[in-house]
């Protein structure tokens, strides 16, 4: 498996990659090729390059040879202009990083020693420049969503050259097919499995963090690209116009943008797994304002915990999943956001009903046995063509 960061690192795609490695490990001799960085903003080499082990799996860490360009935004602007050049695209891919030429050299020399090379996330240097070195054995997990970068010509080989693609959702596949016309590449909607801890205790969470009354919950990175500012504004407007509903907004995760000190907004920072599940179990609803998701693990976890989810109607993946699951409500703007919150607070039975439907959806679709079987099928197809 090739992935930009690996191990105890934040990030949905990275967590996804690690859980797939853990589940595939009983079936294959599996190794990970990654970088020595845990930080996607700087790619600073904060880990030792060389051989490492994570969960009993060999991890080859290759050095990031330059940090992310300080003026990366400039490269981005140049590459995203309509009248840009191929050189602008190449410069953008290098500047975005993680710039790890030794990882490429490893794939060039040793990639063919592996039956399969699984590339996680389409966007970064290791996949863009690494996948074309071993296309005949490559399986791509794109974790793609609508964003400017995916329009660059540099990504065409990433979506046309691999032997198979494991999409996260129906929506992701539709978007990729529309953009790339790569329907002929073997593919499957694979996604992930959700592990639900046997025990979830909302009271323990409330007591530990001193939270009383009903609360909306958000878990994940808190940043502009995640729609956090809009969430704060929607929440503040709702509370200002409707003070009768005393509902707090609990945030779990690292903040990359300022969290307002409005009363009712409670930022707890990053928490452990058990805390997260306890928090999910107790929320009135889980809120996912991000537009740019290829698969929201934490949304699936909220459903697995039996809670309803409030999503942005303009996120095709989340709105589509909420509709298919019958387990969420989608808003277009602040007014609808407020209306949905009131509805769920005033009618807790509705929230419970939606949550149960979500739990059924996850148990039906997002099980590891199905995910592992799908990977095994894709790999068997790749091997059949290689030999």
């Amino acid at each position: 498996m090739v992935v930009q960061r690996y191990g105890d690192v934040p990030g949905g795609a990275e967590a996804h990659a690690r859980s797939v490695v853990q589940r595939l490990a009983p079936h294959f001799a599996i190794e990970v090729a990654t970088t020595n960085s845990t930080d996607y903003l700087t790619w600073k080499g904060d880990l030792t390059a060389g051989l490492d082990r994570v969960d009993g799996v060999t991890v080859r860490r290759f050095p990031v040879e330059r940090p992310r360009a300080w003026n990366f935004k400039l490269y981005e602007r140049r590459a995203f202009r309509s009248r840009h050049t191929l050189e602008d695209e190449r410069a953008f891919i290098d500047a975005q990083g993680p710039y790890a030429p030794e990882l490429l050299d490893f794939l060039f020399r040793r990639g063919r020693d592996y039956d399969h090379v699984l590339f996680f996330t389409y966007i970064y240097y290791p996949t863009v420049l690494g996948l074309p070195l071993v296309p005949e054995r490559a399986v791509l997990v794109p974790t793609a969503h609508e964003e400017s970068a995916i329009g660059l010509a540099a990504y065409k080989p990433v979506f046309h050259a691999p032997r198979a693609i494991a999409y996260n959702t129906e929506e992701e596949r539709r978007m990729v097919w529309r953009r790339f016309r790569n329907e002929r590449v073997s593919n499957e909607i694979v996604g992930v499995g959700i592990d639900v801890p046997a025990e979830r205790n909302a009271t323990r969470f409330r007591e530990k963090h001193g939270i009383t009354g009903p609360y909306l919950l958000y878990v994940g990175r808190i940043g502009v690209s995640k729609g956090s500012r809009e969430l704060f504004a929607n929440y503040e407007r709702w509370r200002a116009s409707d003070p009768a509903h005393d509902v707090s907004l609990v945030l779990i995760g690292d903040a990359e943008t300022r969290v307002p000190r409005t009363s009712g907004i409670i930022h707890l920072g990053r928490l452990g797994e058990q805390d997260k599940w306890d928090a999910l179990a107790g929320c009135a609803a889980f809120v996912m304002p991000s537009l740019l998701e290829s698969l929201s693990l934490v949304t699936l976890e909220a459903w697995a915990a039996g809670r309803p989810v409030i999503v942005h109607a303009q996120s095709p993946v989340l709105a589509g999943m909420a509709r298919r699951a019958g387990a969420g409500l989608a808003y277009h703007g602040p007014a609808e956001f407020a209306e949905i919150c009131e509805l769920l607070i005033d009618d807790p039975a509705l929230g419970d009903r939606l949550g149960r439907s979500g739990a059924d959806f996850v148990a039906r679709t997002y099980t590891w046995s199905r995910v592992v079987d799908s990977y095994l099928d894709l790999f068997a197809e790749v091997r059949a063509r290689l030999h």
């Binding site: 030429p101 070195l133 065409k156 032997r163 002929r184 063509r385």
Partner: protein, 383 residues
């Protein structure tokens, strides 16, 4: 339909097998489609020096867009090539080799990125050069690759690992090329069409003067093409002298530009370049055509010989020509030391083999047959 043909060099005066094929295809397609060509301003493939004016021009119904080659081929290219082909080297060395080989034409690549989506199909000629290796990935969803691949060292290099996975369809010149590409790249799932070629009927020609001249000395064995070591004419000369030493009779006529020393002896006749009429007169007058080359990707001269009912003798080292001869049942192939025997066998059955070859080209190489295969290829790409 709007179709774009991308090829490293283009024009009536350009010499080269894949370049000629590209021009034929552009003109055949232009009879029912809007066809454009994107190419360079170079005439030769060793310097890529500018020759044609940049910009748009018309070649009959075909609109030709010529983009400038920036910089001619590096004088150290051959060293760099030897390094990546035969010495320990890095990934970066292999990647740099492609641009050094040329023709490096950023304008053509930018054109493909910006305007490529305006075409229903883009046909790329010759896998090896940068316009294809760097250009096809920019329009993979509408691309056909006419790879004209041989079993040669560069085919192993890194720029081609992904290239052969990207097109929507392949056009191959022969079944042997298809088998080579499938074995090397495991890409048999990508649809393909074996195109071969179409041929015009031979022009008026008169074989009698050649027959009268050579017949008294025994069989006339013809070689037609560049007279060089690259085409294995040195091996042919060695085989010929063994054949003569063993008592064989006849003349070996070499028609084509000489790029090597030819021994001065009565039974070996270098004619230099010949006209089209002389070519067909020689082909028809000959008792057999011999093609010793190891690296033919189609062997058009075999087809031309069969047009006038002459059987062919090919080196067994070349799978393509050996396959062609077997399919047409129009001659024989010879292994090391077996030239004389094979020649005797072909001469003994000259008329039967020649007639069989003629029937093969009449079936496979007419324009309607070729156009149908071409249309099939376009259908695989455009949808």
């Amino acid at each position: 339909m709007r179709i774009l043909v991308v090829v490293q060099r283009y024009g009536a005066e350009v010499v080269g097998g894949s370049e000629s094929h590209a021009r034929v295809v552009a003109h055949r397609l232009a009879m029912v489609n809007e066809v454009e060509v994107a190419t360079t301003n170079a005439l030769d493939y060793w310097s890529w020096a500018p020759h044609f004016p940049e910009g748009e021009s018309m070649d009959g119904p075909v609109r030709v867009r010529r983009f400038a080659v920036t910089g001619t081929r590096s004088p150290t290219f051959k060293d760099a090539e030897r390094h990546v082909l035969f010495e320990p080297h890095t990934l970066a060395d292999e990647q740099a080799w492609l641009a050094m080989q040329g023709p490096h034409t950023p304008g053509l690549l930018e054109f493909l990125r910006r305007e490529g989506k305006g075409y229903d199909a883009v046909l790329f000629y010759t896998y090896i050069y940068e316009p294809t290796a760097a250009g096809l990935p920019l329009v993979a969803e509408r691309a056909a690759l006419i790879s004209t691949a041989h079993d040669e060292e560069p085919l192993r290099l890194v720029p081609y690992r992904a290239l052969f996975q990207l097109p929507r369809a392949f056009g191959f010149l022969t079944p042997e090329e298809r088998d080579l590409v499938h074995a090397r790249f495991h890409n048999g799932h990508i649809p393909n069409e074996v195109l071969g070629i179409g041929l015009d009927p031979p022009p008026w020609h008169d074989p009698e003067p050649f027959r009268e001249h050579y017949a008294p000395r025994g069989p006339l064995v013809l070689y037609l093409g560049q007279v060089s070591e690259g085409k294995a004419v040195d091996e042919l000369l060695a085989d010929w002298s063994r054949y003569r030493a063993a008592g064989g009779t006849g003349s070996l006529v070499l028609a084509g530009t000489a790029r090597m020393q030819i021994p001065k002896q009565d039974d070996i006749v270098p004619l230099g370049r010949v006209s089209d009429e002389e070519k067909y007169a020689l082909l028809e007058a000959a008792d057999a055509l011999v093609l010793p080359s190891h690296l033919e990707s189609l062997g058009i001269v075999l087809l031309e010989a069969w047009q006038v009912g002459t059987p062919c003798l090919v080196s067994a080292k070349n799978k393509v020509t050996t396959g062609q001869v077997a399919r047409a049942h129009g001659g024989a192939s010879y292994g090391p030391g077996a030239f004389g025997m094979a020649l005797a066998a072909v001469l003994a059955e000259r008329d039967t083999l020649g007639a069989s070859g003629r029937a093969y080209v009449e079936r496979e190489c007419t324009w309607p047959a070729f156009d149908a295969r071409l249309e099939q290829l376009i259908d695989l790409v455009a949808n």
